[in-house]
């Protein structure tokens, strides 16, 4: 929670609200999108820009951005800031900027890799809810929002506005997820693939959903979030390798050993040791353990401490684990 103008607000509420807003534009024709952008600039008393509309990400990214020049923070952001009193601005700008505006930007960027308007509106929304903006200015912000309904992702330059019409979004339990199509799909059918909110290359997405991945294939995945999803959807992988549970502790750490199997020959490792850990976030992680250390002390707690760069006592003393 952060305090703005005497009101306590939860930054996460605004981050979720405006990230979702940015990725779920109202369907519109190119003409409607262009008209809305022009109206927006007119309202902000800016020179009418040229508007270029894109409906898939690849096409959008083919623009020679180096020749476009610096993007400008025009219209909504400036208008909102002009409405906020200087004394309030200094005290809340940093906290709201860091916790809401920057997070919305990062969140949308992580999904579609493009600039957008949602950060400005998220910023403004906080100031409406905390009575920093007058009723008139709050109404003005509502009008801006209506003009932004059809083109929520855009790169703004001095003379040209490059609009990327938002893709179709598929979610499950609030997370980007689809086992049928890209969870984030542009009009030409291309897009980005997600399982349980984890972004995956298409080939890996297909492999995971085939439910035929081997333990070796899963362990070869570099990114731990992706490895975790692969393990979740291929639980047979561990069992198929004939792993043995060697030790289980009270902190949800389990030590497994695989020996005498084909994978041992493939990896030229007579013994393969790994830790399975249930993270407090609910996810299950698997991590390889150095064989010489596991041989010396086949204890799940000791080995988890070792991977964390802690002594056993430090690990046991650690109270905050999340």
């Amino acid at each position: 929670m952060i305090e703005v103008n005497g009101h306590k607000i939860d930054p996460q509420y605004y981050i979720d609200k405006w990230t979702n807003w940015a990725l779920e534009a109202t369907p519109a024709t190119d003409e409607r999108v262009i008209q809305n952008v022009k109206n927006l600039y007119k309202k902000a008393k800016l020179k009418e820009p040229e508007v270029k509309v894109f409906r898939n990400y690849e096409q959008f990214m083919q623009i020679d951005w180096a020749s476009v020049g610096d993007s400008v923070r025009a219209s909504v952001g400036d208008s909102v800031w002009a409405s906020v009193g200087a004394s309030v601005r200094d005290s809340v700008r940093d906290s709201v900027g860091d916790s809401v505006r920057d997070s919305v930007r990062d969140s949308v960027w992580a999904s579609v890799g493009a600039w957008y308007w949602a950060e400005d509106l998220a910023f403004g929304d906080v100031f409406v809810d905390t009575n920093v903006l007058s009723k008139e200015k709050a109404q003005e912000l509502e009008e801006y929002k209506k003009l932004l309904e059809t083109q929520r992702i855009a790169i703004r330059t001095q003379d040209i506005v490059y609009v990327l019409v938002a893709p179709t979004i598929r979610r499950e339990d609030g997370r980007l997820h689809s086992d049928q199509r890209p969870a984030l799909e542009w009009e030409n059918g291309t897009g980005q693939y997600y399982i349980d909110g984890v972004n995956l290359p298409k080939e890996l997405w297909e492999s995971i959903l085939s439910q035929k991945m081997t333990f070796a294939e899963i362990m070869k995945i570099d990114i731990s979030d992706q490895r975790t999803v692969a393990l979740k959807y291929n639980p047979q992988a561990i069992l198929n390798e004939g792993s043995t549970l060697v030790h289980k502790d009270h902190r949800n750490n389990e030590l497994y050993l695989i020996e005498g199997k084909q994978i041992n020959k493939d990896l030229e490792a007579p013994k393969i040791w790994f830790l399975k850990m249930l993270c407090p976030t609910g996810r299950t992680f698997i991590e390889g353990v150095p064989p010489d250390e596991a041989e010396k002390n086949p204890n799940a707690t000791y080995l988890q401490a070792l991977l964390c760069g802690l002594t056993l006592q430090e690990y046991l003393d650690m109270e905050l684990e999340s």
């Binding site: 860091d98 960027w109 984890v198 979030d225 609910g282 802690l310 905050l320």
Partner: protein
Amino acid sequence: MKKHIVRHGEVVLKQIDSLPKEAKLQKEINKEIIAHSETGHHHVLEAIKPFKVYSLNGDRYLEVPQLAKLWHQKTGKDVHTPHKIVKGFYKINIKKSYNYFSKLLERVRD
């Protein structure tokens, strides 16, 4: 006095008595990504009063002059809860995992 040790996903902040003498000051800031995530879900340390980041032989250290917050830049489910980081010196450990393909102990990547 018992040392403050916090685990936040693959990040472990371990309180130490003092900084290593050879540690070099890298920056003094209010917000720093402690562990960068490929998927944008960074682990971020943030404070009102600037804290110092040092490095030595590839390891990173912190000097936190006032209460700070370690939080996970992620929305929705699977988010690590934020933790308060009390004033003090810290060593930043990033969890490791043994890679049976490369035969190396490698930093966990999120």
